[in-house]
Symmetry: C2
Amino acid sequence: MAYKLLKNEGTARRGEFETVHGTVQTPAFMNVGTAAAIKGGISSYDLVDLKCQVELCNTYHLHLRPGDDLIYDMGGLHKFMGWKGPILTDSGGFQVFSLAKLRTIKEEGVYFSSHIDGKKIFMGPEQSMQIQSNLASTIAMAFDECIENPATREYTVSSIARTTRWLVRCKREMQRLNSLESTINRNQLLFGINQGSTFHDLRIQHMIDIAELDLDGYAIGGLAVGDTAEEMYGVIEAIEPYMPKNKIRYLMGVGTPVNIIEAVHRGVDLFDCVMPSRNARHGHLFTWSGIRNLINEKYARDDAPLDEQCDCPCCRNHSRAYLRHLFKANEMLAMRLAVQHNLYFYNTLMEKIRAALDDGTFEQFRAQMVPILGKRI
Amino acid sequence: MAYKLLKNEGTARRGEFETVHGTVQTPAFMNVGTAAAIKGGISSYDLVDLKCQVELCNTYHLHLRPGDDLIYDMGGLHKFMGWKGPILTDSGGFQVFSLAKLRTIKEEGVYFSSHIDGKKIFMGPEQSMQIQSNLASTIAMAFDECIENPATREYTVSSIARTTRWLVRCKREMQRLNSLESTINRNQLLFGINQGSTFHDLRIQHMIDIAELDLDGYAIGGLAVGDTAEEMYGVIEAIEPYMPKNKIRYLMGVGTPVNIIEAVHRGVDLFDCVMPSRNARHGHLFTWSGIRNLINEKYARDDAPLDEQCDCPCCRNHSRAYLRHLFKANEMLAMRLAVQHNLYFYNTLMEKIRAALDDGTFEQFRAQMVPILGKRI
């Protein structure tokens, strides 16, 4: 179980990440199935056709509903939702800090109320590891505090110190859980998360501290939460030299196609974001010529496929006019076709990035694509 | 283009109905794609896998949104929604009477306000034929008044007399439209609709009157709109001897699996109903052992497929526990999987009915299935 760096182009990396549920070709984009399903009526079986390599599920949501004990009883997430490839679960931390009500952070963990029914819940590093072990994901994320930007230096210093202490507890608890006979996936991997807001020196010191724990991968958290794209790129550039070369690197919750290309350029291997599915549900579709708002009147009688250069299930079979009609008529099929397209687009983007890295033409690809992909057409 | 009676078992009929868009094996159930899409995120391409033979679309809904002129410009419904098989369009009459506001019925047609934006619209026999010709469906339905039950004898007498006069106008207008070079489907078929509330003598006289017009098929309308199942069966039995033997017979808007078996027994060939998709969206699933309410707590940890005897995409891949979770978490995937299952169930029911008729064992099938299929389990 390890990351293998196949090739560099500048700081950009072409690699492979081996897991018990299959090998991931990197750079890769994880498709977000929050509550054990992709929003928009996409099943795990559809995901295979959409060239998805890794599905991401949310610990917080699944803990509340249907409960990780139920998923454990059903044999774990893979069996429950019918996905055979790698699954990454987040730690629950991000949702505890963004969704839950009445939260109190203490050294032992976080006390909060469920956003569904107000039920009082405690989650600390050990609980997060136990839940993720019950879910039996391929990769578990460490329980951290995701600091919103901007943040004060003082708060950031104390927060990341606690996040490091929590990480030590996460590692210890996962080792214990992976040693139990009753654990479904005893090869569960643990990724640590770098925090530190936009303070480069704090980010670097935190990265050095967590690298010492020799985890299975390292994530950059706390970006794309109030900061600008330039601040984000700056943080990645600052910490990259301190990230272990032989470990996979995951930029959490990012981002647009351009953000992804720019982050690959700066040495990132793994991504996740709700953007492709969320934007799709509002009629915003990514294409190889730029971003289309399909609700626009000009598509009402447009017989062309959404993207002539795409061979996703939507573009192979349906016209812009039909898809627009489905959106206007509030048909669920609009959501499904649009989400299929956007996920296929993101997964194909990663395929093209990998091919360019293989060919040593990634910088050319970046120069060509960045001006196009962010453009509204 | 004709109905061919292959075999009788009592009054029940096994037949074939030839159209320019393919031959329909009857008895058959039409799958309802109201606004040119099946509710629940099912595309025309999915319908093929669900063993659908005929898709039904709604004239009223499509006239309002996106407009039949737009669908005409896009080459007709087949091309617009990507369905290659036969399509039946209703006349719009039923929705004008049930959905539209401020309606006034006159000899020339109906004045009403759109239920979407209040826009004033007029629809008479000629307009309905023109809209359906623009949609370019395989089969157009005559514009009639669907009388709600119970109705007075006096109102029924005057209403069906007008419906007959409207039918003559529908036939004349369709002949004109089918003769135009600019018409997309110049082989469009026209079905007349029998009305007469629950008055057997009025139903019979109306059937005799409309049979004289020698149309491509005959529908029984105005049932399952306030009447009991026994009243419905009584009406079918009364008029069946007066329905042309060499024409296809369609019972509109019916019904449960048991209703369908009982109507086939009484000589009906064609059905449509929103029940399989609507019930699916509320977690009510038809199975070969009876009707399951999947929201029930007892399915929370049930690892079995929804129906062990079913090989639909839902039952092949997913457990009751997973499907229930998707419903509880309000995931769109719940709708899609459940609608897929229920449509597959209905289409398979028709397949079994046809096989039993082929084997001369339909009455045995009916005796065995009727007590099971209506049962809640």
